[in-house]
Amino acid sequence: MSERSERTNEATSDERVHRIEGHITRAAFPLPDVTWPLTAEFWAGATRNELMIPVCDTCGRYRWYPKTECLSCDGEPYTWTPVSGRGTLFSWVVVTHPFLPQFADLVPFVPALVALEEDPSVRVPTRMVDCDPGSLTFDMPVTVTFREISFTGVDGSVTAPLFVPA
């Protein structure tokens, strides 16, 4: 906490945010960079059909996002751990406008946040699939499904954890 309070007089916030910037030079964008060390295990898990979330070695809480420093205890080491893939639908939207040209073939789609069964404070950004958006309700049970995702004009695909109504 002391380190945290020392930072509060800063007029800029990026330090507290643990923001890591990289210019978008990858031809595969918006596919993930599955080699980026901080999230590589998330995507490797998806190819094995496992939803992987890191646990802080110091305080035992989920470290989500997998930042290098725990927001709860400031500890650093963490361990990627498989979770059940069950959760509840925290919130969602129905996108009919492609905000990126690469989303052109995706619309309409349903970006969503899923609260994990193991710890509902962990919210996984995902897409709801195999469902009528009009049938979705708050906090309904949902379960992970692993699908290949691809984008307009972008070569290749990546296995990603999407969700369906349970």
């Binding site: 945290r4 309070s5 509060t8 007089n9 800063e10 007029a11 800029t12 916030s13 990026d14 507290r16 945010v17 643990h18 923001r19 890591i20 910037e21 990289g22 210019h23 978008i24 964008f29 918006p30 596919l31 993930p32 960079d33 980026w36 901080l38 999230t39 998330f42 995507w43 989500w64 996002y65 930042k67 927001l71 925290f90 919130s91 969602w92 939207v93 129905v94 996108v95 009919t96 406008h97 905000f99 990126l100 989303f103 995706l106 789609f109 970006p111 969503a112 946040l113 404070s121 919210r123 950004p125 995902t126 897409r127 958006p133 708050f138 995702i149 990546v158 990603a160 999407l162």
Partner: protein, 401 residues
């Protein structure tokens, strides 16, 4: 549902600067869609107008504040624009967004220590002109965040309209907020813009019926829930209240400043208090410094990228109970001439121009002077709430007595 505030953010530990700084001149540029102008041309125009408003010459400005974004009006740009070469103290703790509220806090120190006597704060964008060349428009800075690139964007959770529509939907669930209530915000600000010849949307009326008939492009949002993309900028000049008393226009006195932080930054998906803003931290701090309560506020302006962000800041600043914002903003509450809390009386970013809050402060000063286009009767205390997501700021300005 109740989240301990200490779990997700805090307030900056600011010294009391009540009564130490006055704003003695304001100006904004022409506001427009794509203009072909550069950011520095835009801000230069705003600065010329602020100097004229304050009755000052360029050589009187010996302090300059802006924010560390590309193409801002730094000392080199100032000298190039005005053909001057004198020494100028400079700070990047200003500009728009949250900085438009906190610049006076940091200027207070410079004024106290004699580093400067007249401190100019500016901000401007040419995003409407630049839009065609940008990857994903204003989403670009978010797209450069590698956590977003690798955990959000591949799933389609991007960019800002998607983030805030997701928050709006949860707010609707948690508190019963309705589309009509969000629409009341858009309609109020559009009405203000229709009455403001400087507003980009001056010729575009919007009724609640028209709002509801507009298609939802990121359900639950319509385009009317989202701010404009504009070319424009603004400037204001700070000094001590003593020096301000010698300027031609009535000064606005800085009575309170607060800054709040959210530990999860722009990773909104992970913010424990999902339907709150760090105004929870900044507003009480600023009001305490000023010795006022929310009931004392005659005019509110707030950074309004989306209708829901306005609504949440109204709640989080204490103008109503958390969750009651929808009911609060319904009807004419936010209107300049009949409302309980006149808000964004120039039209805001939703309908005046997307200049990231700098014009909100200009508007507060004009209201306190009694020279606003949509003048709030007997306006003595005005507040601006700045927002970036990771932070909220709050400034209380009062009419000089």
């Amino acid at each position: 549902m109740a989240i301990d505030p200490g779990e997700w953010g805090n307030a900056a530990d600011f010294d009391d600067v009540n009564g130490q700084v006055a704003i003695c001149g304001v100006g904004d540029s022409d506001m427009s869609k794509a203009s072909g102008r550069t950011t520095q041309e835009i801000v230069g125009q705003a600065v010329e107008r602020a100097l004229a408003d304050a009755g000052l010459e360029p050589t009187d400005v010996d302090g300059l504040m802006y924010v560390g974004m590309p193409e801002q009006f730094d000392v080199a740009a100032f000298h190039e624009h005005f053909g001057t070469s004198h020494d100028i103290w400079e700070s990047r703790k200003g500009g728009g967004m949250t900085g438009a509220a906190t610049a006076p806090y940091f200027a207070a120190e410079a004024l106290r220590e004699g580093k400067a006597t007249f401190v100019l704060n500016t901000f401007g964008v040419a995003w409407a002109t630049q839009r065609g060349e940008m990857t994903g428009g204003p989403g670009e800075s978010h797209a450069q965040d590698l956590f977003k690139q690798n955990l959000e964007i591949p799933l389609g959770w991007f960019p800002q309209p998607v983030y805030f529509a997701t928050i709006a939907r949860r707010h609707m669930h948690d508190f019963g907020t309705t589309e009509e209530q969000l629409g009341a915000i858009a309609v109020a600000f559009r009405r203000h813009a229709n009455l403001n010849p400087e507003a980009v949307m001056r010729d575009k009326p919007l009724s609640l019926e028209q709002y509801l008939a507009s298609p939802k492009f990121v359900d639950p949002f319509r385009k009317e829930d989202c701010c404009l993309i504009s070319d424009g900028g603004g400037a204001y000049i700070m000094t001590t209240p003593e020096r301000a008393a010698d300027r031609p226009k009535a000064p606005a006195i800085v009575a309170g400043v607060g800054l709040g932080n959210a530990y999860t930054g722009t990773h909104w998906a992970q913010q424990p208090a999902f339907t709150s803003t760090p105004a929870v931290f900044s507003a009480p701090a600023a009001f305490a410094m000023a010795g006022i309560t929310p009931d004392d506020v005659d005019l509110y302006t707030c950074y309004d990228p989306f209708t829901i962000v306005t609504l949440m800041q109204i709640e989080d600043s204490g103008f109503c109970e958390k969750g009651a914002g929808g009911e609060f903003v319904a009807g004419d509450t936010l209107h300049f001439d009949s409302g309980k809390l006149p808000t964004n009386t120039h039209g805001g970013m939703l309908s005046h121009a997307y200049v990231l809050g700098i014009s909100h402060v200009v508007e507060v000063v004009r209201q306190l002077r009694g020279e606003a286009v949509n003048q709030v009767p007997d306006c003595e205390i005005g507040v601006y709430g700045g927002y970036t997501g990771p932070q909220c700021s709050t400034i209380v300005l009062r009419r000089a007595s």
